[in-house]
Amino acid sequence: MFEENKTANEYLEIQLLLEAIYRKYGYDFREYSVAHTRRRLEYRRAREGMTNYSSMQHKVIHEPAFFEQLLLDLSINVTEMFRDPWFYQKVRELVFPHLQTYPFVKVWHAGCSAGQEVYSMAIMLEEALMRERTQLYATDFNEAILEKAKNGIYPMDVVRQYTTNYQAANGATSLSDYYTADYDSVIIKSQLKEKILFSPHNLATDGVFGEMHLIFCRNVLIYFNRELQNRVFNLFYESLVPGGFLCLGSKESLRFSDVASKFELVSEREKIYRKKREG
């Protein structure tokens, strides 16, 4: 019985720590995947040389700087330009023809991390000659990472991977047309940034983002539990125009949510969905 109690106690301590973070700082991790959260907290606990999560709770209540650290630990910012190139190809092929029919298009990137995803989209819109009539909104709950997104500066060594991805996604020219290279980093050209509005938004606690034609939310929901996922799907449903598109990460699915029947599946492998028109 000892082992079971130990695990149960630890689980309780984690819940209390997350409760403290929520009550004190307003960031709600209470409905994130526990296995994932535990792993991130465990990493910080070991690095700080602390023996348990309760002492982390004490520290996070009394030291805002420690909270900032935990916030970084808990938001996994792994991202790439043109991540899953085949996905971007499908968006161009199946979603763009519909976007072409609107005089003005609004796109929301929820959980945009350091900006690679929204810049990829901006490039595709540019190449489809739609940039002038598109507004992109890029949001994340982590303001430090949003700052990076705004700057659009990426290290040279990762840009090689981005270039491979861009080509695999059938980019029209060369990725280097869209950045200025420095000695060991690149900066995204300002013409791509003009149509993007970066702002903080927390999917767990903030509200609807109105009248979108297309929403990207990729590899964010995977960190949420089923209940929170479901709430966020409802949020997306409310934020889309009828006939608007929702794109998820390749391991995320609308299937089990209660809005599932209100969307049609456009492409299974790419996880592209479309909000049905009423009636």
């Binding site: 082992e3 079971e4 695990t7 630890e10 689980y11 995947s33 526990v34 296995a35 994932h36 535990r38 792993r39 991130r40 996994i76 792994v78 590899n219 995977i222 960190y223 539990n225 089923r226 996922q229 990460g249 391991k251 995320e252 699915s253 089990f256």
Partner: protein, 193 residues
């Protein structure tokens, strides 16, 4: 989820270089009534389309599938980590996937699966490290042992790549070092359905 004949509730397997043949060997020996769920991390290039499930499909009695995020772990199933995702066991007994950075240069990582499975299953877990050319799985196996679970490693001699079983054995936390030929039967004896 319990098998009537044993107090174990799940098996986790980690394999790397040479793993396809090794895992196949183990699976092919399992008797038709083997019912403990098995979760596998096989190191694989992140850019491949997933083919592992198809590969193993007709080679064992369990139902083979690539793990879906947040699906419940059921007996009689064999779950495989998708390429480029970590596979974890969630606190409610479902699987969870994540794109956290690679661990031991690997995503999926064996340690990530083993550690989270140890958290959930405690002493009711069997961990197996097979052939491989790195040291992923060693820390995870140690944690399984610390939680009272059963730990198994393939013998160096029968491993196509030796570093991974060697690193696991080095931890001093291994209950059984078994040649590849007998691992399947060893599992059969544990699951007495």
């Amino acid at each position: 989820m319990n098998c009537n004949g044993t107090h174990y509730r799940a098996v986790v397997i980690g394999a790397s270089a040479g793993g396809l043949a090794a895992v196949e060997k183990v699976l092919s020996q399992l008797k038709a009534s083997f019912c403990l769920p098995i979760l596998l991390v096989q190191h694989i290039s992140p850019h491949t389309q997933s083919y592992l499930a198809t590969h193993f499909e007709d080679k064992c009695a369990l139902t083979v599938k690539e793990a879906d995020d947040k699906e419940p772990i059921k007996r009689g199933y064999f779950y495989i980590a998708p390429p480029n995702y970590h596979l974890l066991v969630e606190y409610d007994g479902c699987v969870a996937l994540s794109i956290d950075p690679p661990v031991n240069f690997s995503r999926p990582s064996i340690d990530v699966l083993f550690e989270s499975a140890a958290d959930y299953f405690g002493k009711e877990l069997i961990g197996i490290v097979l052939t491989g050319a790195n040291s992923d799985g060693a820390l995870g196996l140690k944690k399984i042992k610390e939680h009272g679970g059963l730990t198994v490693v393939q013998t160096i001699e029968t491993s196509e790549a030796q570093a991974m079983p060697a690193a696991a054995i080095q931890t001093g936390c291994v209950d059984h070092i078994l040649s590849l030929e007998v691992i399947g039967d060893f599992l059969n004896e544990i699951c007495e359905c």
